[in-house]
Amino acid sequence: MPILSIFLIVSAALFCTGLLAALSRRHAIFILIGIEMMLAAANLNFIAFWRFGPQTQQPIGVMVAIFSIAIAAAEAAVGLALVIAFYRHYRTTNVDQLNQLKG
């Protein structure tokens, strides 16, 4: 089994790839994909710290990861609904052109 810091480095790399996707792409769906990747990296950290840390009665890290996955799913559903809603209005998914809130 590798040591904890290797898992943390992989998780940091995944987080920064998500940051790259969220910051450098213009398409709204790419930004959502980047945010989901960052959330997955955070989950990986939770599970790694749970596995390597002192064991308690309740599996705390696993519980946090479960709730985090549920919240990520809710965020993805609402985000994609927003993408479809503004695509109907403006006929574009380029976030640079979404600079007004007038219906």
Partner: protein
């Protein structure tokens, strides 16, 4: 044997993540995104959290990736155009990775080996969810209902 599995999974996950962040075609990026989450689920299996790995496969690959593919197909008329690439994002991402790497390598407390633990059974997770974590569980249920209703209202056709 575990180290070989770790290296293979890490290469698969990070390569798929880079492909998802940089491929020009959206549909290819969405499929690489699904592969990334297979890799993350494999990490969860490697770390002994089998239940979370299964939840990850069901929720992300079964639901979120399919939702993303449907959204791409529904907004396809806009997908072909080139949008350019913001190189400032690359600089920021590399800087953040450098900072995190420096912090991880300079913290001696995280270079520890895994202790032997008893297997985490679904029975233990269920007992914890139904006793200590019953309030968060209810709140997540309310949140998911609210998100479902909100998503439906957002995409409903406007009556004119």
């Amino acid at each position: 044997m575990n180290s070989v599995a770790f290296i293979l999974i890490a290469i698969l996950t990070l390569a798929a993540a880079l492909a998802a962040a940089s491929l020009p075609k959206l549909i290819h990026a969405a499929l690489s995104f699904a592969v990334t989450f297979v890799g993350v689920a494999a990490f969860f299996f490697l770390l002994g959290a089998e239940f979370i790995g299964l939840v990850q496969v069901f929720v992300y690959i079964g639901a979120v990736a399919v939702l993303i593919v449907f959204t791409i197909l529904l907004t396809r008329r806009d997908a072909g155009k080139d949008r350019g690439f913001n190189w400032g994002g690359v600089v920021i991402a590399i800087a953040v990775f450098g900072g995190l790497l420096w912090a991880i390598l300079h913290t001696p407390a995280v270079s520890i080996a895994a202790p032997n633990i008893e297997a985490l059974t679904v029975k233990r997770i269920g007992e914890a969810l139904m006793t200590s974590y019953v309030w968060p569980l209810q709140c997540v249920g309310v949140l998911l209902t609210a998100a479902l209703i909100g998503a439906l209202i957002l995409v409903m056709e406007e009556k004119r």
